[in-house]
Symmetry: C2
Subunit: 241 residues, 2 copies
């Protein structure tokens, strides 16, 4: 089933944005009466029927507003330092959207290889991943800020910093509690400096490890995302003796 993205979706007749209209009418050659789904990126899915196949502003009728299958009862935000190779972070944005994430932050730090990002391109990648994976939630993607600014942003939940250090013995998959809101910091290729790690810790971030593998920045970010989603899916009974 095809999914189109319409941020201001509501039941009744609505007009698809130009890009979505073109995809619907020109690329997929949909005709009057054809059915598909519309996601508002805010957690809701609608049944849609094509009314006017205008390739610039297709009119569709939306009904049966409902929570997407991907509804999750917690908030997951990940903050990552962009990698030298931009495609690695684009990959993270796509995969994190597929697996499920509420917000992606980017930050610059002492060992950052890249200090500028094309946030609009990242948002496009997230939209296409949302459509591909039929998701109802599109992650917010913030433009890049210095780490010092990011760690001071208010966040109403548990804050973690994935940091490679001999003193860090807690594994995210153990300390993260099912159902809790989490913001997780993932360092750059050169890791955080000691000063940066201490700054995060004094701002309430708990140092955690992501397990016994040395991961690239973008892999670590996805691993953190996946750990939280999986911890929320595993049934406690699996571990009862």
């Amino acid at each position: 089933m095809n999914v189109f993205y319409l941020p201001d979706a509501q039941e009744g007749s609505v007009v698809l944005p130009e890009e979505e209209s073109k995809h619907c009418v020109r690329v997929l050659r949909m005709e009057v009466g054809d059915g598909f789904l519309v996601s508002d990126g805010k957690g809701f899915i609608y049944d849609a029927t094509l009314e006017i196949p205008n390739p610039k502003k297709a009119v569709v009728n939306l009904s049966n507003k409902r929570n997407g299958y991907d509804h999750w009862p917690f908030r997951l935000e990940i903050a990552v330092a962009p990698t030298k190779l931009n495609e690695r972070i684009e990959w993270f944005v796509e995969k994190a959207t597929e697996i499920g994430i509420d917000k992606i932050h980017f930050f610059t730090s002492f060992h950052s290889e890249r200090r500028a990002i094309n946030v609009e391109r990242f948002r496009k990648i997230a939209v296409s991943a949302l459509k591909q994976s039929m998701k109802s939630r599109l992650p917010e993607i913030d433009d890049i800020v210095p780490l010092e600014k990011l760690v001071k942003k208010p966040f109403n939940g548990d804050k973690y910093i994935a940091w490679i250090d001999d003193d860090v013995n807690d594994n995210l998959c153990d300390v993260y509690k099912k159902g809790s809101d989490a913001l997780i910091l993932i360092g750059p290729e050169g890791d955080f400096s000691l000063e940066e790690a201490n700054l995060a810790i004094t701002n309430g971030f708990k140092p955690v490890s992501l397990g016994n593998a040395r991961l690239r920045t973008e892999t670590a970010a996805l691993a953190a995302c996946f750990t939280v989603q999986l911890k929320n899916q595993i049934q406690p009974s699996d571990f009862r003796p």
Copy 2:
């Protein structure tokens, strides 16, 4: 710390392969007495010291043979249908090697978009991921075979097929038991045909879901890999009331 790959490593003086010698002497400009690590890809790591900086056949002294940090006490094999876009499977090979996997199988099936792979290129990608993530275990990568042949291969452990079907209620993260050996089949973009799924089931593969997200083939394959690794790391106590 730099890691080099030497499949037939043993303690004492050994010669690095030409490609590794070039990387060590020409690219990293290492000199006599410089130290690094050598991985044999079979689970062992050695301390290494450069003895003769020959850019074609560098001689290094290996000592302190030991298990890598990434030692895991179970066997994980994943079989996946190659994606239309080759880079997506290359990405899976890299990430699965980083996260930890023993063997990667490829198969053709009814809905396969791609029926040929460059297995040598995949092996090179795995080696570079092994070096990057300082791993001691290099996944075996088999050339592509038809699904009918793959499902009949003997495997001494639990066999799963990730299949999108209304009747499939078991989630891999629930049914997979910590410490057990697993072989997991991941279908092509068009999923398995009903006949293929039944063929796998009659050959002992248990249908499982990978959770409540619709994932691309390569994302599903990585999710399966990550699920098994994470399930083996989570402490049961996390779930005690």
